[in-house]
């Protein structure tokens, strides 16, 4: 019988900065030699030279699974057929926990706190099995001021092993409140190619929504969230007003998944403080909220002329904030000149971008930006890619999918009243325009 995929064995975890030095490591299992890590950086460097990096590398029987965070590499090693997705999910979790502990995860913060780091590594994983990775719970018994809190640390928080492993008992607030943020990000790829369609066409678009909670509730409250989810209404037979079909829904571990599966009820005991309750994806075709047209004319050896038109295709009452249109320019461009009908534009040479910023962009309006750059007479030989134009924006009080929170029921055995506050925001995700001029 073979059950090789169940266990996971990143025998050790370490952080090596670019200085080729192992910062800290923890050998969880002892069957991969410590010296194996010496092969990691040469492998990585070879890959980078070839321009073909890969998150899994191997040397002999040892496999390196790594991620990079700022200037640190987090590397897990194994010599078994480990669960690779678990390893990466865990490495990202480690980054999350350390960031919450030390604000920044970087070389210095590791060195400054190496005792706590060791303690955390002990709690996060045992013998290659991830254990408690919820930083809020960890903070209850692993603290940065170890000596002072000696008393508190003499017992294991029951939360660690509870079925409700994300919330401690005995939380108290004077005023019980829940803040709900519904944030939708729009991913859009526009193709603007005279050969295909002079007016531009939407190649692909989807909406990724998230529901974030900030709960300030006492005790162990039971929450139920109601959305205008089409599947729910279809199930219950009620159909009032607009509903939304969610393509795929992902939940925080606090949500009872089988309950949702059976009757689409989102019921849960929330983590205290901030958390991401759920995310969803909607595939429906979205009208581009900010429509971009661009003409980029390049006159070799002399100059490049850029014209960008932006149009707000959303309700007149709404306003898009902090709109940023980022137009790629050739790396050897110089002497920028800009003219805008609103906002201001600047040249960011280190990123080879012209960035046009509009603080406030009302719906239905149309603006224009013209830019011109000089080009050197000696041409740059290097092939340059054709990066797309990207757009950032944020539209408050509005969801593009029309999703709404219908209710948030809060039940706690003490019977207190609590108020839910809801906020909607639509923002840009991967919002790109590929231009074929």
């Amino acid at each position: 019988m073979s059950t090789s995929s169940v266990t996971f064995d990143p025998y050790w975890l370490l952080f090596s900065p670019l200085t080729l030095q192992v910062l800290i490591c923890r050998n969880y299992k002892g069957d991969v030699d410590m010296a194996e890590i010496d092969h990691f950086l040469p492998l990585l460097m070879t890959q980078e030279e070839e321009g073909l990096t890969c998150p899994i590398m191997s040397h002999g029987n040892v496999h390196f699974l790594w991620i990079k965070h700022t200037n640190l590499y987090l590397v897990a090693t194994t010599n078994k057929n480990s669960n690779a997705s678990l390893v990466y999910a865990f490495l990202y979790k480690v980054v999350e926990v350390f960031t919450e502990y030390f604000t920044e995860l970087e070389e210095e913060s590791i060195q400054d706190n190496f005792v706590v780091v060791y303690e955390l590594l002990d709690e996060l994983m045992d013998f290659g099995f991830p254990q408690t990775t919820d930083s809020k719970i960890l903070q209850e018994y692993i603290t940065q001021e170890g000596t002072k809190l000696e008393v508190a640390k003499t017992k294991v928080p029951t939360t660690v092993t509870n079925a409700v492993s994300w919330r401690s008992e005995g939380i108290k607030y004077k005023k019980n409140e829940v803040f709900i943020d519904v944030i939708e990000s729009i991913n859009l790829l526009l193709l603007f190619s005279p050969a295909v369609n002079a007016n531009g066409s939407v190649m692909s678009s989807d909406i990724v929504g998230t529901v974030k909670l900030k709960t300030m509730l006492s005790g162990m409250p039971e929450l139920r969230l109601g959305l205008n989810d089409r599947a729910l209404f279809a199930l219950t037979g009620r159909d009032k007003g607009k509903t939304v079909t969610m393509e795929d829904v992902k939940f925080h571990q606090c949500v009872r998944l089988s309950r949702f599966e059976s009757d689409r009820t989102i019921s849960f005991i929330p983590p205290d403080g901030e958390s991401e309750l759920m995310s969803y994806r909607i595939n429906t075709h979205v009208k581009p909220l900010i429509w971009i047209e661009s003409v980029i004319e390049k006159f070799s050896h002399s100059r490049v002329e850029i014209m960008v038109k932006a149009k707000g295709q959303f309700k007149k009452q709404s306003v898009a904030n902090n709109v940023e249109v980022r137009v790629p320019v050739p790396s050897d461009a110089d002497s920028p000149k800009f003219k805008t009908s609103t906002g201001h534009a600047k040249y960011v040479p280190e990123k080879n971008l012209a960035v046009w910023t509009i603080k406030s962009f009302p719906g239905g309006k149309e603006f224009l930006m013209r830019a011109s750059f000089g080009l050197p007479s000696v041409e740059n030989d290097e092939m340059e890619g054709k990066p797309p134009i990207t757009v950032n924006f944020e539209i408050p009080y509005f969801t593009v999918s029309g999703i709404q929170v219908r209710y948030m029921k809060i039940i706690e055995k003490s019977g207190y009243q609590a108020l839910p506050w809801v906020r909607y925001i639509t923002q840009s995700g991967d919002y790109q325009l590929r231009s074929n001029f």
Binding site: K80, V115, T147, F251, M383
Partner: protein, 950 residues
């Protein structure tokens, strides 16, 4: 104040100073000192000299200090095992501490100290901790059992910890359950037959309940464990699927992938007409798509797995093409994987979009990505016939860009398009020829040369083009040289008048000036073909080519099934079975998908795919009759990989060399005239066995005719060799087909094997092993397959056998059970050998001895057989039998009946005496056999029959 100050002490006498501080009376100073020690340890300094001093700090109330000391112990205990004993008492004491954190810490740390002496002391505390009232301690102790098992498996079993661990699966606390499952799975992995997890409907139900309550990581352990279970029937399968599907909504990508693994596996059992089957298919697509919004590394794992899923069940994602479109800022490894999946999903319905995207990618700057995009366009053309024209025109557009690597890549794929759609797009050849000079990569040059040769009659200056390549012939890579040779021969056959000189030139370059045996051999073959029979040459060289398949890089089905069972793991990322990259996993059972069953026939399926269930080994029962412990023996064989330095089997010189090379068709001709062509012979003698691979298939077939010149079957009178039979069909061995026979040549028993690779991947690392058998047959050397066996390649191997192996009586007596291993798996088959190959050369008995022996053997041991329809006279029969070491000792004629007395000696020293009655005009012989071991008589009789009738 931060800890970083601890890293800065580099003064002289540091160790000495630390020693003093560690022994200080002040608690605070002690702690500071321990921190400094740990800091030094972290940066790799050797502070093991402080061992006793640090251990002295162990007894403290300060939890932080204790943790640091424990950390130190874990690091250095192995290098100082004797001193580590000093720590034992504190450990044992700490395991009784009122504070559960300390109890857990102690048991966790003890498990990490891999020192035998310590483990002995660990047992009692561990036993208590496994039953601790605090779940935090229990969950830590559960993992500790796995740690201890890793150090001393026997101890864990003797102490009954495994049973305690199994009990923990029913623990009230979900985290304890999860860790118990993880620990048991880990242990089970190293003990494939232990059936530790004992998965049955009841335990599965417990796991499914725990699934709803434990942490995300616990859910992964449980799901991965569930994936090893094989449900009894489709109903159970469906009910598990129903309870697993909610996990698809988990925010953790790893939970989702593990759930996908369970569903993909169990789905296999559901009838396709079931409504639920369709529902499940629909439910799988959205979570797979959402995985593409995860972090890039997780996306990469997801994409590698989606690549498998798309091959296994294309219907799941067939409408999701767009999500695989490449984003400008995707990392390169994500881009390349997306491209692969796009091609797999390409269909008539979406091809226009796909092509537009691919064309876009082909103008990017990343060379590898661009190359793959161009190649993808070609693959689309081959896959979706309706799009071929558009693809070709897109490729021509790309060639116009004159970007060197784009042009080369395009030419390589256009060659394939020509193969797939002959006589359709040749109008573009002119454009291709324009770019001849810019080709500097072997693959592109070879492709171009192939095109020129293939369409020589339509290219006016084909001879000039090819001649231009010929100038630097010796600087070209083998690939180009071979292609050039073939192309010029093609050209010659098409335009013989103008190109005679050219073909002479290339043949002499290939045969006389080259050191490359492949090239030389191909040259000689063409040369002889052309000089003996140009018509045959035309048929061979210009033969119609088999169509190339649409999907060129599909994973071989059995491997795909196995990989589906490993979704989410490294195997699924590498697209290789775990046995290919995990040490010590050889012989570990391969996972398989369960068989589809109707609900009524649930009882029939347990044999298939219950690798997870653990009891029955996976060896297909139909190949080897299950013989209890015997089978076990065979499965435990340690198959050594082939050693390249091992002794070469004693093949009989030239003849065998020729056989290896030329495959089945020529075998019967070898006795003939091959010696007549010394040049040829030399070529063969030197060539490695891979040659057939570099020849096009039709050429191989044609060779039979060529060599028929030698005339007729010239088999010398020799030992009887049964015809080859298929022992292991390809479908039972993941594409490896083995046929063969046994022979005795010059006193050496040989197993003559023909290995054919009918799978799509290359096979390597062949090895062979026999089970114990009646006459102690065993391989006398390793299986000599020195070169990888490519798809559709065949290789013949002679394996010399010895008779000194372990003996065990088989039924039938001449049954032989064989295990053959390659890089993919281990396969088992059984075959029967003619006992005549065990007849030794010195089997001629003295007459006197014969008479005495005949009398001496009791009559009960005599058996009589009839051989029918044999038309040889006694003289001829005697000669024939002698070839197989059956010796006639005397002959007597009584009343027109010839009585032949014969003796046989088996390799193990058993004598068989025979009396053969041959009556003139009567085709039926009577034979009496006498032997002290009468069991062999039946087999010996069979040999008589076989020898006389062949």
């Amino acid at each position: 104040m931060t800890d970083s100050k601890y890293f800065t002490t580099t003064k002289k006498g540091e160790i000495f100073e630390l020693k003093a501080e560690l022994n200080s009376d002040k608690k605070e100073k002690k702690k500071e000192a321990v921190k400094k020690v740990i800091a030094s340890m972290t940066v790799g300094k050797d502070v093991s000299a402080l061992f006793p001093d640090v251990v002295n700090c162990m007894q403290t109330d300060n939890l932080e200090l204790k943790k640091l000391v424990y950390l130190y112990l874990m690091n250095y205990a192995k290098s100082q095992p004797d001193m580590a004993i000093m720590a034992v008492n504190t450990f044992v004491k700490d395991c009784e501490d009122p504070n559960p954190l300390i109890r857990a810490l102690a048991v966790r740390t003890m498990g990490c100290i891999r020192v035998d002496k310590i483990t002995e002391y660990l047992c009692e505390p561990l036993r208590k901790c496994l039953k601790d009232e605090d779940p935090y301690v229990r969950k830590t102790a559960a993992v500790c059992v796995a740690k201890l098992h890793d150090i001393n498996a026997q101890l864990v079993e003797d102490q009954g910890f495994l049973d305690t661990l199994k009990d923990l699966i029913s623990d009230s606390n979900p985290m304890v359950v999860a860790n118990a499952v993880a620990a048991l799975s880990e242990i089970a992995e190293s003990h494939p037959n232990s059936n530790l997890l004992d998965l049955n409907p009841q335990s599965i139900n417990k796991l499914l309940t725990a699934l709803n309550e434990c942490t995300e990581w616990g859910q992964i352990f449980i799901l991965d464990c569930l994936a090893n279970y094989t449900p009894r029937d489709d109903r159970e399968s469906q009910s598990i699927c129903e309870r697993v599907t909610p996990r698809l909504s988990h925010a953790n990508s790893a939970v989702v992938l593990s759930a996908v693994k369970v569903l993909m596996k169990f789905m296999e059992m559901l009838p396709k007409d079931l409504d639920y089957y369709g529902t499940l298919l629909k439910k799988l697509a959205p979570p797979l798509v959402t995985l593409l919004s995860a972090e890039p590394e997780l996306q990469y794992v997801a994409l590698r797995n989606i690549n498998l899923i798309v091959q296994k069940r294309p219907e799941i994602l067939k409408h999701e093409m767009k999500v695989f479109f490449v984003k400008y800022n995707d990392p390169i490894y994500v881009k390349l994987e997306k491209l692969d999946i796009m091609i797999r999903l390409a269909s008539q319905a979406n091809i226009a979009q796909v092509l537009a995207e691919l064309k876009e990618y082909a103008t990017e700057v990343d060379v590898d990505f661009v190359r793959k995009a161009v190649r993808a366009i070609g693959r689309c053309a081959i896959k979706v016939e309706q799009s071929a024209e558009r693809c070709v025109s897109t490729l021509l557009d790309l060639i116009q860009t004159k970007v060197n690597y784009v042009v080369q890549e395009a030419i390589v794929v256009i060659k394939d398009i020509f193969r797939k759609y002959p006589n359709k797009y040749e109008s573009v050849i002119a454009t291709l020829c324009e770019n001849l000079d810019s080709l500097d990569e072997p693959e592109a040059r070879a492709a171009m040369i192939w095109i020129v040769g293939e369409y020589a009659e339509r290219i006016d200056n084909a001879d000039e083009l090819l001649e231009s390549f010929l100038e630097g012939f010796h600087d070209e890579s083998t690939q180009v040289q071979l292609q050039l040779l073939t192309a010029i021969v093609k050209l010659f056959l098409k335009k013989p008048t103008e190109t005679q000189e050219l073909v002479q030139q290339v043949l002499s370059l290939a045969t006389q000036d080259s050191d490359n045996p492949d090239l030389r051999d191909r040259g000689y073959i063409y040369w002889r073909l052309l000089s003996t029979d140009p018509v045959a040459a035309k048929e061979v060289v210009l033969a119609e080519k088999p169509l190339i398949s649409e999907e060129t890089d599909l994973i071989e089905p059995t491997l795909l099934e196995e990989l589906i069972c490993h979704i989410g793991t490294l195997a699924s990322v590498y697209h290789k079975p775990p046995s290919a990259f995990v040490e010590g996993s050889r012989g570990v059972m391969h996972k398989r998908l369960p068989a589809r069953t109707g609900s009524g026939e649930g009882t029939e399926c347990p044999d298939v795919g219950n690798a997870a269930g653990g009891s029955a080994p996976e060896a297909a029962p139909s190949i080897i009759p299950s013989q209890g412990d015997l089978l076990g023996d065979l499965l435990n064989l340690d198959l050594a990989p082939p050693t390249t330095t091992g002794p070469t089997p004693s093949t009989s010189g030239m003849q065998m060399g020729g056989m290896d090379l030329l495959g089945g068709g020529l075998e019967s001709l070898l006795g003939g005239d091959i010696g007549g062509s010394p040049a040829m012979g030399a070529g063969f003698g030197a060539a490695p066995a891979v040659m057939p691979a570099s020849l096009n298939a039709p050429v191989g077939g044609g060779l039979g005719d060529l060599f028929d010149l030698g005339g007729g079957v010239g088999m010398p009178m020799g030992a009887y060799i049964p015809p080859k039979t298929v022992w292991l069909p390809a479908m039972k061995a993941k594409g490896l087909e083995i046929s063969g026979t046994f022979a005795r040549r010059a006193g050496v028993i040989q197993m003559e094997l023909v290995l054919t690779n009918k799978a799509m991947s290359v096979m390597t690392d062949f090895a062979i092993q026999f089970n114990r058998n009646s006459f102690g047959l065993a391989p006398a050397g390793p299986l000599q397959v020195l070169t990888p066996l490519g798809p559709n390649q065949t290789i013949e191997v002679s394996l010399p056998l010895s008779t000194v192996g372990p003996v065990m009586k088989m039924d039938p007596l001449n049954n032989l059970q064989v295990a053959v291993k390659n890089n993919i798996d281990v396969f088992y088959f059984s075959c029967q050998y003619p006992i005549s190959m065990l007849f030794v050369e010195d089997g001629k008995m003295e007459r006197q001895v014969f008479l005495a022996t005949w009398k001496d053997i009791p009559n009960d041991n005599e058996s009589q057989f009839q051989i029918q329809d044999c038309h040889l006279n006694s003289e001829a029969a005697s000669n024939k039998l002698q070839g197989s070491n059956i010796f006639t000792i005397a002959k007597r004629t009584v009343e027109g009946q010839d009585m032949l007395y014969m003796s046989i000696k088996l390799s193990n020293g058993i004598w068989v005496l025979a009396e053969l009655k041959v009556q003139a005009g009567n085709p039926n012989y009577t034979i009496s056999l006498k032997c002290r071991a009468p069991e062999v008589s039946q087999c010996v009789f069979q040999c008589y029959e076989a020898v006389l009738k062949n």
